[in-house]
């Protein structure tokens, strides 16, 4: 090796070494904030159990500031009243005070029931006002792992089992409603079991970010989208009312996801991960058939036709992906329809 080459190798390694050292310093300085998000997805995922059945996320600020939201607001003015009432009671302006929300539905395991759910919201909250409101409704304040948790046993009392009985007392205790102030600017609301679990996870433990399969999907969904949901299809199946052809494919579907970017319209992708290539191929055939049927039935309405044409079936291997684009005009159409229903004399566009 000549001297000049040695100098070059040394110079190149020096640049790399200095760069890596600087990167490591940046990484360690910002570790406390990035530790939660380095796995990908919103930081609130650290409060979600590792084996959650369904997780959904929305960037509320982004959605509320979207052109689509402005159009819908103009088309559906009646929604204002509910929002004002909510703000008056809680002090939360949904449009400006909430940054992000993560919703989670638990999978049945241990103390968790399949219907246990929770929403983790980050933003600017008036903790005192929220606590007062909860107390007014009979909530008890408790300190759980140095966090303030408001538990209301009242919320679940209306639940009646299918056979007409009320749930046993022990079960009722488990299924109470709770709110916890996890960190300044982050609250968790939902089933008390899940909320307490969220407090546990804040102290450490296996949250969903340690689930590589789910997080791989989260990273894919989180990029470029302001709303998404994913889950194990088994959790969705009992609630879903799907066509028979699709239902026949259900046992083969493992994970499902939907991601959307809401701006002028809604652009997104619906994706299913099947258990094998053959199941994916079968599911693609079924969806293709449904798409053809849908396009036939789109009629002469150009907006609906445009939406149907935007549906693209894709994916390969075990993945079945359906991308879609709902144009803003379709929402205008829906707004017109809603107005006509509320005032039948109004002229249609």
């Amino acid at each position: 090796m000549t001297t000049r080459t040695r100098y070059f190798v040394f110079g190149s390694l020096l640049v790399l070494g200095v760069g890596v050292a600087a990167g490591l310093v940046a990484y360690s300085l910002g570790y406390s904030t990035i530790a939660r998000s380095s796995a990908g997805g919103p930081p609130e995922l650290q409060y979600v159990p590792r084996d959650a059945a369904i997780v959904a996320y929305a960037d509320v600020q982004d959605v509320m500031g979207s052109d689509l939201r402005r159009r819908l607001k103009a088309a559906l003015p009646s929604s204002e009243n509910g929002q004002e009432e909510f703000q008056a009671r809680t002090g939360i302006n949904v449009e400006t005070d909430i940054d992000r929300v993560v919703a989670v539905l638990a999978r049945s395991s241990g103390s968790l029931e399949p219907h246990d759910g929770m929403v983790v919201a980050s933003g600017r909250f008036d903790n005192t006002r929220i606590e007062s409101l909860m107390r007014e409704h009979g909530a008890q304040v408790e300190e759980y792992r140095n966090k303030r948790v408001l538990v209301s046993a009242d919320a679940m009392h209306r639940r009646i089992e299918p056979d007409g009985r009320t749930p046993p007392a022990a079960d009722r205790a488990n299924r109470t409603f709770a709110l916890a102030f996890l960190e300044p600017g982050i609250i968790a609301v939902g089933s008390s079991t899940l909320v307490r679990h969220a407090v546990d996870l804040d102290a450490g433990g296996d949250n969903i970010t340690t689930n590589d399969q789910v997080m791989a999907l989260v990273r894919a969904l989180d990029n470029g989208n302001n709303a998404w949901a994913l889950g194990h299809f088994e959790a969705l199946r009992p609630e879903a009312r799907l066509p028979d052809d699709i239902v026949r494919q259900l046992p083969a579907i493992d994970l499902f996801s939907v991601s959307a970017h809401i701006d002028g319209g809604v652009y997104g992708t619906l994706r299913a991960e099947t258990r094998d290539d053959e199941a994916a191929s079968n599911l693609r055939d079924v969806v293709r058939g449904l798409l053809a049927l849908g396009r036939l039935q789109a009629g002469s309405n150009p907006e609906v036709q445009a939406m149907m044409q935007s549906l693209e079936l894709g994916g390969s291997g075990r993945t079945v992906a359906l991308s879609f684009s709902v144009p803003a005009e379709l929402f205008d159409l829906m707004g017109d329809y809603a107005r006509r229903r509320h005032s039948p004399g109004a002229p249609a566009r």
Binding site: V9, L16, A26, S38, H261, D263, T269
Partner: protein, 277 residues
Amino acid sequence: MMEGRTAPTVAASALRVFDLSLGQMLWSRRSVFLAILLGAPVLMAVAIRVLGARLGPIEVNGRAVNGAAVFGLMIWLLYIRFIVPVLGVFYGTSLIADEIDDKTITYLFTRPIRRSAVLLGKYLAYLASTVLLVLPSVMLVFFLVVPTGEGSLGAAFPSLLADFGMLTAGLIAYGAVFAFVGARLKRPLVAGLVFAFGWEPAALLLPGYLKRLTVAYYLQALVAHERPQDSPIGMLLQVFREVPPVGTSLISLALIVGLALWAASRAVEGREYVLEQ
């Protein structure tokens, strides 16, 4: 007195050839081309930094994106899909061809080392020279681009290390494939360019198993950054979003590299290169 001596091992000989070839490769005619190729993203990064400071965050399809996302795009579109295959083609196919063109192959093939050691040594020199040029280039782009649009250097740093690994894997794999092409074919550059910029993009878009006959398919699994999905291109990319698991990709890439280098070594051992001088 030297009658009983046996040729040194292939590995030992390859290291000697590497030592001899590294400088030749670094200071060759291609260095200018390499400098342009790797300097262009750095210049782009400087432009992004300057424009970002003056005009605010960069927008992709009408949406503001942070520096880490822009860096991810640059890694995918510039480095993985263009620079790494180009370096692989131009350097990999020329490992032996350059020595033939310069008529210096004789000096290497009349020494007590196996011809495969010459190929492997030159392959190692290719790897060292490209890695030592590509990674600093990526490093500069990272520090220039990531802080724009409120991107965090610390948060993006782990992905930079992953990118280093992936780019190195790409250079290893493409280099091996094109080393074989260079050792086997008389006009390797044309065949290499067709493979990298004809076959690979086409096979990745085609449904079915053809994509498994590309290097890019396995490299995709190692990409730490996600591609944007809110544009027609994003949707198109989404179609071939299917990627094998990281473990499968690494094993497949290792197999590709091993097989390509073995076949290239076989070709070099049996070919009469002086006929082409």
